[in-house]
Structure formats: structure tokens, C-alpha cells
């Protein structure tokens, strides 16, 4: 049947008419484009011809042969623009009317010679069309978009060519947004695009709340200016991007919403967080962009961690000097997880305990164990570890922590050099053990009433004092507790164990059962000096010094042998001995009230020579002070 192509369709399209929906013939199809599959049609209205690019969403039609050389097609949606003095049509939507037909008429190319494949082909990294076929208009991107220079002015609005008829409900400014630094992102920015590398990818998490089931995942980005930001996706958006995002790759991201960052989970230095939505775009940038670093750290020397706030998040790097085996731990919610403890040492001469939780134990933890077992001392960088102040200061992993073994960064190299040239042999002081400030040189001596009168223990750090006093009473009920004898690293667990079944003991922390438990002192003792008296608590070592024998012996005497006479004799014999007590004084919350708790950290017999010297000093000083009146 004869087909009438739309007369002068080519001329009409070239002059800007986008509404005519002309009937044209495809005279030629060429596959072009370096990295992307792009088809270029040669369209004819039987007299003139014009090149047109096929939008990629229609590629399928060419591949399946629904449109081929000779097909008569109707252009439903298309745009026309000028690139490098050439008119380019982009077909956004078309319908094949007749798949095969002989070439109609004698069409000639309207414009000059055939353009070279690459020159006028727009670089289409920014070109991902949305799947809606609305009246979106595309501009062939100006080459300037490839540059990353950021102009701090507001983006110029896209101006359509003057003879362009504007029709349709909404005119959207669809010019690709300029790339800006992450640090410049804010909710009032307007259109933005960022180019950054993924430094961390979170797990896919499912949740259930009042609104139903949902899923979420987050990833962190770092750009060439060192700016970082977290990106979060919910529900359907997760499906779009979860498999696209890979750690270490660079992406161009645009059209997300900016909201305040959740500081509880997000430890990046940015007050905002990006939330991707259904119209967001994420484009992989395949060219390796050397200007974007792989990771950004701000390492703190271990000695600074000593004064870091509890629960603060920080980065640290050190040489691994010891790795302990993984132990299963029962958490409060009933779930079991793994825990490993290792020790890091750095140039500051201090070492710190690092606790690995969960998967870190099996992956990095296992690798580190093998390395240390074979005599190596690897460098370990920790990003986003959490400070814990239970016993001195230590660091633990959290869900957003990342571990890097022997990373390729200048700090690691510096550490390695230090270690090899002597750092290996320098002893380091652990900040993860409870420190007792004040050696024998700067002990603060107080009388027992001074503790109350001066309000010791009421500040946020405990007070450490020495007092010379006499034991006047020892409480014999609950003088000891059943303790876990298992080792955690180089320390005994010592947590109170509970009876499980008959004659077996269970430790919650180590999650193990055993036959024999340890007995450790938990003594309540009353001590007195010339000013007054007070209750103190003495643990194992202090208890052994006060009672002169082990808690186990006393336990057996009282409960197994039930020899109350002998037990009583021993207790009585230990009363009215004078000691120098090193006391840790701290106010603690007991239920509703604040009570000052005094713990005996060390018990020393009085050295009469030294004590006399001390007293003589005090007398002399006292006399000197009185003279000044």
C-alpha cells in the first residue's frame, strides 16, 4: 500500500516543532558510542534526511528488530537541539508503523557531510533518561559539564532556543546539575550533583514499625575535597540501588533530599544526610578518578584516647601486638555473638585494648590472629571505633566501624618504620587498665572525717587518697562471691557466676560452664582513725591482705567444714591492725540516692620509719605555719 510520509517533516522538526508527530522512514541505523550502546537513525520524509539519536530506553526496539532500516515510524516524542552547529534530534518515543518498506523517494541529507561518530556524540554519562515518557526535554550537555570545577554561583536556568514552542503542563528544567563539593550540600541548594567514592556500604536491614515492614541501607561517600556524607535508601529505593553501589567505586549522584544527619548512627563530619528517592540518579563513573581518595581518616594517637570522652567515635592506627581467640558471648537480647580482644601500640608509647564484635572476629580478627601467630606485627587502622571507659579507656567496634590491615597510607608507613627501628622493643603503658594516680611520691593523705568534710568523690572523676586507719569490724555475711576463673586476654574474667544444675557454674560473659569456680573477696570492713570511722569495700587483693588468707580458704572453713569457731578466731585475730589504706572514693547512684562509695584499692602495713618521718614532717610544717601568724 502506498505510504505517505509527513511532508517536510524534517524541516519542521529542525525548525523546532515537537508536536507534529510526523511519519518518517528510517533510512539507516548505525550503532555508535564508546561506552554506551547508542543508535543513530537517519530519518527521511522522502525528500530530506536528518540524523536522530535514539534514546537508550528504545534500544530494545532496534535489538529485537522491531525497528530497522526501512521501517516507517511515527515520532511521538522527540526533541531538537543544536550541538556544535549541527541540529540533532533525539527520539524519546516512537512507534513502528510498518517494520519493512522500501526506501521512499530520493531523500538527501539536509545538512553537510556525515558527521564523525565520536565528535558530536554527546557524552552521555549524565543522560540517563527517566522511564516516564513525558514532555521532558533533554539538552545535549555542553562539554563544560565534564569538568569538575565548581562555580559557587547559582546554577543558570536552562534557556530553550527562542523559536521553541513551550507547551505541556509543566516546564521542567532538566539541564543536568553541576557537580558541587559535598561540603556545599544543604537542603536549600536547589539542584545538585556530587561525584564521590563509596567508602563504606552498610548492610541491608529490615525493620518493622507501626507503618509496617520496611528495609533500609546506607552508604558513605567521600569526594575529592575530602567532604563526606552518608546516603540512605528506603524500601523501593533500596531495590534500585543496593546492587549498584560498590565500595571503592565512584558515582555521580543527583536528586536526593537533604535532611539533618542522625548523629547517633552517623559519625561522619557532616550535619546533613542524603536520602535517595524514586527520581534520584546514581551513575557509576567507570573512569578511575585519582583525585578522590579511597578513605579519609583522622587518626588520634593512643595517648589522646586516654582523655577521650566515653562513647565518642574516633579513628586510630597502631601495631597489633597481641590477638586473643574469639569467644562466643551471650548478649542481653539473647542473641549470641563473637568477641575478640587485641592490643594496639603506637609511637606515643601507649597501648590500647581493641574489642572486635561479631563478624570482625571471623574476618579481620582471624586474619590478624594468623599474622600475629606467624610472628608478624601488622598495622591496623580503625575507622569509627567507639571509646569505652569501663576499665581505663578501650575501643570497641560498632556496626559502622571499618578495619584496614596494613593500609597503604603514610601513617601506616610511619608506624612500620618506627616499629622496626626500635619501637618494637619499647615497653608501652596500657591505657586500658584502671590507673591509680599518684605513686608513693604524691600520695594525698587524709583523715577519715576529711573524706566527708571535704566532699571527696563528688566530682565526675573518683578521688584517690591514702588514710592510716585501723580495722575495727569485718562483716562476715557475704564476704566473698563465686567468680569466673576463665581468662580473657591476660586478665581473669572474675564476673559473678551462677549455679547451673548441680555442682556446675555458668558465666554469662564468657558463656561457658565449668565445675570449679573461683572465690573472690567482697569484704565490707569498718576502719577507724583518730578522727572517725567509715565503711569501705575491699576486693580480692585488699581482702587477702586484711584477712591474711585466701577467700577460698575462708569459704571452705565456713561453708564446707562449717568450723565457725576457727572462722571466728581468724576474723578476731585480724581486727585492730593498723594499715595504710589506698582508697578510691566515688559518689554513685544507688537506686534513687547518691552514696559515696569507698573502695580499698591497696592495703599496706605501716612502715614505722617512713610513717614517723611523715609525722615529723607534718609537725614541723604545722609549727612553721603557726609561726606565721
Amino acid at each position: 500500500m502506498p505510504v505517505n510520509l509527513t511532508r517536510n517533516a524534517i524541516a519542521m522538526m529542525n525548525s523546532g516543532d515537537v508536536n507534529s508527530k510526523p511519519l518518517v522512514q528510517v533510512v539507516d541505523i548505525k550503532l555508535i558510542g564508546n561506552s554506551q550502546e547508542r543508535y543513530r537513525f537517519l530519518l527521511s520524509d522522502s525528500e530530506s534526511t536528518q540524523h536522530a539519536m535514539l534514546a537508550t530506553q528504545l534500544n530494545e526496539q532496534v535489538r529485537t528488530g522491531r525497528v530497522k532500516k526501512g521501517s516507517i515510524i511515527q515520532l511521538i516524542d522527540y526533541i531538537c537541539s543544536t550541538v556544535q552547529n549541527r541540529r540533532i534530534i533525539v527520539v524519546l518515543n516512537m512507534e513502528t508503523i510498518i517494520p519493512e518498506y522500501e526506501i521512499i523517494g530520493n531523500p538527501k541529507l539536509l545538512m553537510g557531510s556525515e558527521p564523525e561518530a565520536n565528535k558530536s556524540m554527546p557524552n552521555n554519562n549524565l543522560f540517563e533518561p527517566s522511564t516516564r515518557s513525558t514532555n521532558n526535554r533533554y539538552s545535549a550537555p555542553a562539554p563544560a559539564n565534564k569538568a569538575q570545577s565548581f562555580q559557587p554561583t547559582i546554577q543558570p536556568a536552562y534557556q530553550p532556543p527562542p523559536n521553541y514552542k513551550i507547551q505541556g503542563p509543566i516546564m521542567k528544567n532538566e539541564a543536568p546539575a553541576r557537580i558541587i563539593p559535598i561540603a556545599a550540600l544543604n537542603p536549600y541548594q536547589g539542584r545538585w550533583a556530587i561525584k564521590a567514592r563509596v567508602t563504606a556500604k552498610g548492610d541491608l536491614r529490615r525493620y518493622n514499625n507501626a507503618r509496617g515492614d520496611g528495609k533500609v541501607f546506607s552508604f558513605d561517600l567521600l569526594d575529592s575535597d575530602g567532604g563526606e556524607i552518608r546516603v540512605t535508601c528506603f524500601n523501593a529505593v533500596v531495590d534500585r540501588f543496593y546492587n549498584v553501589i560498590e565500595v571503592g567505586k565512584v558515582y555521580l549522584i543527583s536528586k536526593g533530599s537533604l535532611k539533618p544527619a542522625q548523629k547517633n548512627f552517623n559519625h561522619l563530619k557532616n550535619e546533613w544526610e542524603i536520602f535517595l528517592e524514586s527520581n534520584s540518579t546514581v551513575e557509576l563513573c567507570p573512569d578511575e578518578d585519582g583525585s578522590i581518595p579511597r578513605q579519609q581518616f583522622s587518626f588520634r594517637p593512643i595517648t589522646e584516647i586516654e582523655s577521650a570522652e566515653n562513647n565518642s567515635i574516633l579513628d586510630v592506627i597502631g601495631i597489633v601486638i597481641s590477638v586473643n581467640p574469639s569467644v562466643p558471648i551471650l548478649r542481653k537480647n539473647g542473641m549470641e555473638t563473637q568477641r575478640r580482644i587485641l592490643n594496639l601500640k603506637d609511637v606515643s608509647g601507649k597501648s590500647v585494648e581493641l574489642t572486635l564484635w561479631g563478624d570482625f572476629c571471623n574476618k579481620e580478627g582471624q586474619k590478624l590472629q594468623e599474622m600475629v601467630d606467624s610472628g608478624l606485627f601488622p598495622v591496623l587502622a580503625v575507622k569509627a571505633g567507639k571509646v569505652n571507659d569501663f576499665n581505663g579507656k578501650s575501643i570497641g567496634t560498632i556496626s559502622s566501624t571499618q578495619l584496614f590491615i596494613d593500609p597503604d597510607c603514610p601513617e601506616a608507613q610511619g608506624l612500620r618504620a618506627w616499629f622496626e627501628s626500635g619501637g618494637r622493643n619499647t615497653a608501652s603503658i596500657s591505657i586500658s587498665k584502671e590507673i591509680m594516680p599518684g605513686g608513693s611520691k604524691n600520695e594525698i593523705r587524709k583523715t577519715l572525717t576529711q573524706i566527708k568534710d571535704e566532699g571527696l568523690g563528688r566530682s565526675d572523676k573518683p578521688d584517690w587518697v591514702t588514710a592510716k586507719a585501723t580495722v575495727v569490724f569485718i562483716k562476715t555475711d557475704n564476704f566473698c562471691y563465686t567468680a569466673c576463673p576463665l581468662m580473657i586476654g591476660d586478665r581473669q574474667c572474675n564476673k559473678k557466676v551462677t549455679q547451673s544444675g548441680n555442682k556446675r557454674w555458668l558465666c554469662d560473659r564468657c558463656n561457658q560452664e565449668f565445675e570449679e569456680c573461683d572465690y573472690r573477696y567482697l569484704l565490707q570492713v569498718q576502719i577507724q582513725d583518730h578522727t572517725g570511722l567509715t565503711w569501705v569495700t575491699a576486693f580480692q587483693e585488699a581482702g587477702e591482705e586484711i584477712l591474711g588468707c585466701s577467700a577460698k580458704e575462708m569459704y571452705l572453713l565456713k561453708y564446707e567444714l562449717q568450723d565457725d569457731t576457727r572462722f571466728g578466731e581468724i576474723i578476731r585475730s585480724r581486727l585492730f591492725h593498723q594499715y595504710l589504706f589506698r582508697l578510691k572514693i566515688k559518689e554513685e547512684l544507688y537506686g534513687d540516692e547518691q552514696r559515696v562509695k569507698i573502695t580499698v584499692v591497696k592495703v599496706d602495713k605501716v612502715n614505722y620509719s617512713a610513717e614517723s618521718r611523715y609525722l615529723l614532717d607534718m609537725v614541723t610544717k604545722n609549727l612553721r605555719n603557726r609561726k606565721q601568724f
Binding site: Y608, S609, S612, R613, L616, V619, T620, L623
Partner: protein, 106 residues
């Protein structure tokens, strides 16, 4: 406790202040014969103590008696103080006890 005649704490140098009166001091024995003992006072002076020392005699001994002159004492009471003793502490005690805090002792 009989506080009627207190003995003054003395070292070598302070002995002359109490000649003829009851004194007490600790000496480090250098020589011991029947009837007398030679010793070093806590401030390094050589003193002679007459009387019958206990047997055996330890390195340090406290003597309470009457000061005969500025370097000899006639002892009435001898007490072994063992082989280790902090002489400087005792010396400081003597100085305080004869100086500003005399009123506490005599």
C-alpha cells in the same frame, strides 16, 4: 603510770642541758665492757653509759638514767632496741622535744 619524774629525750648535743637530771637516749653500741658501754648518739657524738648492760646487747639500746656530764650517763634502765633503727627520726624527736614542744614532754 608514774609521771613524777619524766626523763628528757636527749641526743649527744642536748645532754649538757640536763646534767644532773633524768634523761633518756638511744645509742648505737660501739664497745661494750663490764660496767660501761660506749656508743654513738643519734647526732653522732660519742657517749659513755655506765651501768650493767643486758646480755646479749643489740646494736641499738635505749638507756634511761642520770646525766653525769655532757658525754656520760649513769644508766638505771636498759632496753634493747634491736639491730635496725631510724636514728634521724629519733634525733628530730629530741630536737622538737627540747625546743618548741618542750611543754608537751616535761
Amino acid at each position: 603510770m608514774d609521771t613524777s619524774s619524766p626523763a628528757a629525750f636527749v641526743n649527744g648535743g642536748l645532754l649538757r642541758m640536763h646534767v644532773g637530771r633524768k634523761v633518756r637516749t638511744v645509742i648505737q653500741v660501739t664497745r661494750s665492757d663490764a660496767g660501761s658501754v660506749m656508743g654513738k648518739s643519734t647526732d653522732g657524738c660519742q657517749l659513755v653509759v655506765r651501768g650493767s648492760p643486758p646480755a646479749p646487747l643489740t646494736s641499738y639500746v635505749e638507756v634511761i638514767g642520770v646525766a653525769e656530764n655532757e658525754n656520760s650517763i649513769r644508766a638505771e634502765l636498759w632496753t634493747n632496741f634491736g639491730d635496725s633503727f631510724d636514728a634521724s627520726n629519733y634525733d628530730q624527736l629530741c630536737q622538737l622535744a627540747n625546743g618548741e614542744l618542750k611543754h608537751l614532754f616535761l
